[in-house]
Every structure is written in structure tokens, then in C-alpha cells.
Subunit: 548 residues, 2 copies
């Protein structure tokens, strides 16, 4: 595809850029296939803005026409002529930044706005910037990514007794949204998996995602069973789950839908693990919002954060009304319940809702952070995200197509990954010493999920990435974040690892708005960042001094 | 007075103490005239609790009687006898801590509860603990306190041109709530002050509290003029204010009441500076809540913070309903306006409401912190509090008689000083590098204002403290806070002084609940404190290393 067909005006002089936290600047604007570039005219000054057009969530334009009367007043109208026009483009970014561009000339303004609108919505993944990004200091690595089920299995000796690696999904024939390898009970052969996959939505049969070394209890995840209205059974699926609790008296199914929702899903062909068929599994229903409800909550919250009135009551009531903090609370509370089952009671748990690609992953990730110190280092956390989100098939392309500003009719968008990052931030805030990474990492990930130079969050599944050769043609974000300079920035200088579980408080009083993200483009958050920077510098200096 | 008459039971064994953040302990409870002491029975363990009884805001008791049936069932009732009884005393402290004591024996329990109730409410100031407190490492200092109008005048050379020190209030004959010395315009003689004092509520004639070196504009404070329904005038008062703006075109009166409230006060004998009498002064009305409204707001907030339900919506709606954050916002916004008049526009401002002992002091203090870097160091801030609150006559004894838990009928209580500390915390939170003191200092001051070993916050005025010889018989808190070990604890390790004004953001999104105070007895705040402690240690070590 040629980007140039979407770019009628590529360069405009004399543009005024207004952006948060910086004084307005006058300079030249360029539109390329992937970027918006702005450089100001001051001598010796450097580039002011390089914005991935993919980051643009919504574009608004307003045009002004200046009329000048020349000639005599006695004859108005005849000598009237357009002496100039100008327009303002407001760009609302997926990272919540809002920019304004004042552009001389109505036509140029409309052209630019049109280009940005079109280029920001192009669907073809292989035309996206990660396929073009070639940083001078990075070579395409021989091995892409930090973790995979294979590596995870190889590194976890404790798994080798009761669990095996299965390549039943080689070629993605059994489950299109799973990676080729998965970890399953040793005694279960691949034919059982194939049958179980047919009985689960999207083929997502139960697989292991976490083994608790202290007591051998595990977390499994899957999608809903397709029992349907006539209560179909699948003995292989039952056999698979029975093998999971081999020797133990029972396991738990943590269903992220209410009991009523699960019943409704059954009428539509889905379903749940009934007591009669899965006699050793006890079902717990904990309803979590996702999809549209979550997306609307984000939109309301961002709208509230942008409210410029000085009314405290209105702010608090809008914050309440958005329900975002309630979603954060529910997620942490449910993840805490999951971790309690595993760590305190020593029971294995199967987590799923309907598709098993959203709240399911949110819960399994949070529970692992709560229980497992190995997931709390910078590398450990990134590897966890790679396994539980990228490889496990969270549909990033669908969920992060738009963020909170878009006027487009939203289809499959939902900020589940952002909700995860917010929950991790709450953990980070409650346990400032226990996590090895910084708030800056969470902010970076929140941006990258929506628009990125890297291929990590492209596509919706391992299969789609394989089809586009993403691991051969793009760079891996997680590897880039571990380069020495980045590592400094994204580590927690106060990190003091603990072997203990970190149980988050879920009292509403203990949770708070993630200002670093939701108010990041305001002055006060910038000041807090400066203080963090100060601490970082101090600790680095201290490290150098004590080492020398 | 003999305290012993209020103590029927001085010692009880086998008491269980339950307090926040610590496991329950069993031990001995002692009641003395000023303290509640609890030591547990474990060998080698140290004292568990030493609580100033003055810190007790409310006492609740519940008693359980154990009945034991002995003898035959055929004859119930006859052999019934009380085999034991026990009671639980719940102590709600002014620093928001809640303690429980399980005490064996109903009578002892009731005796103890009665003693605590009585001793916590004793009115006689000279019986209070500061008159008995004699720490081994402190001698009574020859000079008491850090600052006074005299010292302030002596240290501020820039004042000497246009301003003088007046001792018109020697013997407290002109204004009972002012200190003996005040700073007033050089050309005004003491007779003018005496006349002006008669025209102002409580004798609080306009005095200087701040001189802005950059432009010579000043902040004056006073109480309301007593114009009354028939619009009385006082030429001396007018003359005094005219002398303040000598040479400038105008000054501002910042009235902390609404225009309507000011009118109502006029009908009751109070009033305001009318345009016709004070032609060069422009009045600005900015209503601020104080008194009962503020006290009720605190009670509601503390009740919300203690709500143990897990309902996020309920918490946010109770937080909103308490209005506390609105009061914080109004105070910061009004102080910002005051600082803008002085710093940006170069106009002098007179601040007052009715009495001029509450919101007036809140505003003058905050404005000085915003504008004057000298007030932002640890010493500077304590000296500012001494001048603007202790010496200027904030009635601490009346305002801090009870805090948020008391069931007593509240009379003159109002958490104005606490509101100040919260506003300062918001500044501290927004400018983490600009202030030289730590959050720990603000927390310490919040406790000390309600119950203290020191004499600083005793009484309602300089005169009352003089009558009781407070400066001869008690220790000064501010001086104690500056001893080396305390200074380490109360300094901000990240302090980087700036000469610039620090303008707080008053957007509702920028303000937040002071969790360190309102949730200080919960686990999560304790974890944040640990991180702060970590930073402190690191910076101290760093300082030592770079010095050596």
C-alpha cells in the first residue's frame, strides 16, 4: 500500500503547536505514513514532537474564515473577499494527551486532519510501524521474546514430575488463540486434549499457567465448556480436570461471571462445570465487568479527569459514577481470593469466564504477582506478561483499537490490559519495596499497548503473529526494555525482594486513582515525577559510591 | 487537686490490649493522673503503651456477666450465681487511634472507664501534664519559643523603614488575645491603635503579619470592625489602614465571610469596611467554613474512614458528603488569591472574618508558605506557626478540646489547625522538593495540638499562658523538635529550596485525602511509611559517604 495516497499535504509552515506542560511553539508540521513531526523555527532547537499516528484516538477540527472588506463602505458586499483562513486540529491521543495544531489555510488544515484520521485507522497490520522500525543500536534478535510455555517448562524443574509439555497445538489446529506448546498433566495424552478443546469455546481447553512450589497447587485457565441447553458432557474434559487434582480431595472453578450470566450463556451454547459432571470441583462465581461496560467506565473516568471546573463535589461524584475504581477493587479482590485458594488452602483452581481471554488472564496474572516473588522482578514481570497476555492470546488488536476519546462506534475495544496495569500499580503503591519495577514501566506499557514501535502487542494471537512473521520482521518490546539504559529507568530503586505473598488491601479507602496515568499530562503529576527522579538519582549515586 | 480521688482502681492484672497494627497483648494496666500504662507479661518485653489520658476523645464500655449453674437441674435458679464478669473498654483517641481493653471484673472495668472519662476532661490547665513533664535530657530553656513579633521585627531589616514595633498591648490591656508587641505602620501612634482596637471585635486591630520583600506589599490581619446597624465609623481605624497603603493606589480587604454573612454580622454589631469610609480599600468576600460546620465535616470524614464495608461507591459518596476536601480546596484557593494579590499584583491585603482567630490565620499562614522561601525550612515553618497561631491567639484549648469521636456536646471545637496542616500537606505533596520538613512533622503537630507533653499549644492566648507562667513551667515543643535527633526525623531528605512562589493546584483532581493522617492506623499507610523511612536512611547514608 502507498501511504502517499492518503497524504495530500505533507508539509505546512507556520503551524502553532499547543501541548500540555510546554509553551506553545511555532514551526513546521510534516505528515508521513506513520508519524506526525513538528519542528519549531527557533535556531538550534531540536524537534518538538514525533507522534506515532497510531497513537491518535480522535481528531477534531474547527475552521475560521477571515473576511476583509476593501473599498467604500457605501458599497458593502461587493468588495468583500476572503483574505485568509485558518483552522485548528485537536488531536486526542490514546495515551490521553491532547494536542492542538493551529494551521494557516483552511484547505491544508482539512487535508492534514483527513490524513491523520485515515492513517490512524488503517487496519492492515503488516503496514504498521513496527514493520518499518529499525533503530540503529538494535539488531533483530535470533530469539524473540523472554518467555514461552517451552521455556517456562524447561526452567521449572518442579513441574517435571506431574506435568508435561504438549505440542498438540502445533500449526494452531486445536486452538487458534493458543501458542503451539502448552503445559498439561503428564497422564493426559493429546487425544484427550483435542476432545476437550472441541468442548471449550474457541478450543481453549484447560492448561496450566502457575504451579505453586510451596504446596503443588496450580492455577489452570480455559474458556467456558460448551454444555449448552441440553447439558452436554465431555468425559475427556472431565478426565483432564480430574488429572489436575490427582490425589487432592477437590479443586475450585473460579468463574468470572455471575451464576445467572453463566446460566444465560448455557442457553446460548456455552455453559459451566456442573456439580454432577465435575463432582470434585466446586464452582465460585465472581462477576467481573469486561467488554463494553469496562470501556464505558474508562471513557467516563477520562472525561471526569478532563473536567476543568473547580467543583470538588462534582469531581468526586463523577469519579464514583465512572465505576473505574470499583472495577479495580473487584479485580484485586477476586485475584486475592484466587491466591488464597492456592497459597492458604492449597487447592488448585481453574479460572475462566466465557472466552477466557480477558478477565481470566487478569486474575491469573495478579494472583501470580501476589504469590510468586519471581514474577516481581523487572524481567519476571515482563516474562509473566508475555506468557499470560501475549502468548495466551489476549486480543490486543481488538481491545486496544481505540482508547477513551474516540467517537468511532466501538466494537471489541475494552481496556482490560489497562485495568491490569492499574491493579499492578495499586500493588506497587501498597508495597513500594516489594516490586522490582517502577511506575514508569507501567506507564510505558500502557502507551505501548495502544501504539508502539515494537511488534509485541500487534495482532490478536500467536497464530496471527506467526502468519505475519512478526517475530522475524519486528523488534520485541520486552527485550528492548531490558537494555541497560532502559533497565535503569524501569527498575525500582527501593526494591527489597520478599519471599512472602503480598496481600493487597482491597478496602475502598486503600485504593486510589492512578494519577500517574490518568492525570499524567498535568503539572502536579510532573512534579511528583521529578521527586521520583530525584530519589532514583540519589540511589544510583549511592550505589556507585558504596561499590567503589 | 488530687488526681487520686478520680482513681478508684489504679492497677489491673490480666488485661488484654487490642490496638491497631499490633497483635493483642495480655498484661497489667495502670491508671495515673495523666497516663494510661500497659505492660505485657512476657519476659524481657518492654512497655506496650503509654497513652496521655488527654489524648482520649471518647470512652465506650460494655460489660459481660457470666452465670454458672451449680447443683441439680431440677431446681434451676436457686444455685445460680455470678461466677465472673468482665468488660471491654473502647478508647477512641484524638489522634484517631482506637484501642480496646478487655478487663476482668465488672467493677474494675467500670472504675477504670470512669477514671479515664473524668481525667480526660479536666479543665484546669495548670493540672495538665506539660506542667509535670521533665525529660532528663532537657533543661527549661532561658528563652522560650522560636519567634515573636519582636524577634521577627528585629530580624526583618526591610521593615525598619516604614514599620515600627508597638508595645501598646503591654499588660494585654488593649487586646486580650494579642501578644504584648505588634508591628504597625511607623507613622501611627499608640493612641490611634487604642481607638482602632475599640472599633474591632475583641480588640484585634489591624497588625502586620507579612512583608513581601520583592515589592513591599504586606499582609495585615485583624477582626471585623464594629460598625453595627447604624454604620458607625472610626477615623483612627481608617487612618491606620490608610497608613498601610501609603503611596499605593489601593489595598484589598479579604473577608472570609460571604457578603450576606457580613451584612448579618453588621446587624448583630459587627460589620465590614464600607466603600464610603475606606475608599482606597476594595473588599473581596470569600466564604470559608469554620466552627461547627468544619467540626461536623471532620466527624463525617473520620466516620467514613472507619467504615469497614467493602463498598467503593459508598466510600466515595461518604467522602464527598463529608465536604472535607471541599474545605481544603477553598482554603488553598483563597490563600492562592491572597498570595496573588501580594506577589503578582503588588497590593497590600487586610484579612479578616469575624473574630480573626481562625480562617484569618489559616490564610495568612498558607499565603506566606506559598510566597516566602524562608517559611519553608523546618525552623522557618515552626517559627511561622508560632507567630501566626500561638502568638496571634488561635484559641487552641477551645478548638482542640475534642476531636472527631467525642459524644460530648461540642461547644467551641473546630479543627481549623488540622485543616491548615492538611492544606500544608497538599502543598508538600504537590511540591515534594520545596518544603524542608517531612510529613512526619505534620502528623506530629496534628497529635500535639490535641494532647501534648509540651506547653506550646496550652491555653487560648498569650495572656492566658502568661497568667499560668507556661513559659517558665513547661517545655516548648518547637524547640524540642529542633534537637538533632528529632531534626533528622522531621526534615525532608529531598529538600531543594527554591526562591520561587509555589502555586498550589486547586483542581479537585489535584487534591487528595491526607491518608497519612486519616488512615494512619491502617496497614497500608504503615507500608508507605516504611518506604519513606527507606529513602531517609538512604539519603542519610549518602550524605555521610559524600562528606567523608
Amino acid at each position: 500500500m502507498e501511504f502517499s495516497e492518503h497524504i495530500k499535504t505533507a508539509n505546512v509552515e507556520d503551524v502553532v503547536l499547543r501541548q500540555p506542560l510546554q509553551p506553545p511553539a511555532r514551526g513546521t508540521l510534516c505528515v508521513t505514513g506513520h508519524h506526525l513531526l513538528f519542528s519549531d523555527r527557533e535556531e538550534g532547537s531540536s524537534r518538538q514532537l514525533l507522534l506515532l499516528i497510531r497513537n491518535v484516538d480522535a481528531v477534531e477540527k474547527s475552521v475560521e474564515i477571515l473576511l476583509v472588506y476593501s473599498g467604500l463602505f457605501s458599497n458593502p458586499g461587493r468588495h468583500e473577499r476572503t483574505s485568509g483562513s485558518s483552522g485548528t486540529i485537536t488531536i486526542k491521543c490514546k495515551d490521553l494527551r491532547v494536542l492542538h495544531l493551529d494551521i494557516p489555510g483552511m484547505e491544508r488544515c482539512l487535508n492534514i486532519a483527513h490524513s491523520i484520521e485515515t492513517l490512524s485507522c488503517l487496519d492492515s497490520v503488516s503496514d504498521m510501524y513496527p514493520f518499518f522500525y529499525r533503530p540503529p543500536d538494535l539488531i533483530l534478535p535470533s530469539q524473540w521474546g523472554l518467555s514461552s510455555p517451552e521455556q517456562h517448562y524447561r526452567q521449572s524443574k518442579e513441574l517435571h514430575g506431574g506435568w508435561r509439555l504438549s505440542f498438540v497445538n502445533r500449526g494452531y489446529s486445536v486452538c487458534p488463540s493458543y501458542p503451539p506448546a502448552v503445559i498439561i498433566p503428564k497422564d493426559i495424552d493429546d487425544d484427550v486434549l483435542k476432545k476437550s478443546a472441541k468442548f471449550r469455546q474457541g478450543g481453549r481447553f484447560p492448561v496450566l499457567c502457575y504451579y505453586h512450589r510451596k504446596n503443588g497447587a496450580v492455577i489452570m485457565r480455559s474458556s467456558q465448556p460448551l454444555t449448552g441447553a441440553n447439558r452436554k458432557r465431555c468425559t475427556e474434559d472431565e478426565q483432564l480436570l480430574q488429572a489436575v487434582i490427582e490425589g487432592a480431595d477437590k479443586g475450585y472453578v473460579l468463574d468470572t461471571r455471575s451464576s445467572q450470566q453463566a446460566q444465560q450463556n448455557r442457553m446460548a451454547g456455552g455453559g459451566f462445570e456442573s456439580k454432577s459432571s465435575y463432582s470434585h470441583w466446586k464452582r465460585l462465581h465472581r462477576q467481573m465487568e469486561r467488554g463494553k461496560a469496562l470501556q464505558e467506565s474508562l471513557i467516563k473516568l477520562v472525561e471526569a479527569c478532563g473536567d476543568a471546573s473547580h467543583n470538588m463535589d462534582r469531581w468526586l461524584s463523577k469519579l464514583e459514577n465512572s465505576k473505574w475504581l470499583s472495577h479495580v477493587q473487584t479485580a484485586l479482590m477476586t485475584a486475592g481470593l484466587l491466591a488464597e485458594c492456592v497459597e492458604r488452602d492449597g487447592h488448585s483452581v481453574l479460572v475462566h469466564g466465557s472466552e477466557g481471554t480477558d478477565c481470566t488472564l487478569l486474575l491469573s496474572t495478579l494472583a501470580q504477582l501476589i504469590m510468586d516473588p519471581r514474577c516481581r522482578s523487572l524481567e519476571g514481570f515482563l516474562a509473566l506478561l508475555e506468557r499470560e497476555w501475549v502468548q495466551a492470546g489476549h486480543p490486543f488488536q481488538q481491545r486496544c483499537g481505540h482508547s477513551a476519546h474516540s467517537h468511532a462506534r466501538l466494537q471489541l475495544e475494552s481496556p482490560v490490559f489497562l485495568l491490569l496495569l492499574d491493579c499492578v500499580w495499586q500493588l506497587w503503591h501498597q508495597f513500594p519495596l516489594a516490586l522490582g519495577f517502577s511506575e514508569a514501566l507501567l506507564l510505558r506499557l500502557a502507551s505501548e499497548a495502544y501504539a508502539s514501535d515494537y511488534g509485541t502487542f500487534l495482532c490478536n494471537s500467536h497464530r496471527e503473529r506467526w502468519a505475519l512473521a512478526v517475530t522475524e520482521k519486528t523488534h520485541c518490546l520486552f527485550q528492548a526494555l531490558l537494555r541497560p539504559r532502559e533497565r535503569d529507568r524501569y527498575s525500582n530503586p527501593l526494591h527489597e525482594p520478599t519471599e512472602l505473598a503480598i496481600w493487597p488491601s482491597v478496602h475502598p479507602q486503600a485504593l486510589q486513582l492512578w494519577k500517574g496515568f490518568f492525570l499524567r499530562w498535568t503539572q502536579q503529576v510532573r512534579q511528583l515525577e521529578e521527586a521520583q527522579e530525584e530519589i532514583r538519582t540519589m540511589v544510583m549515586e549511592w550505589g556507585k559510591l558504596t561499590l567503589s
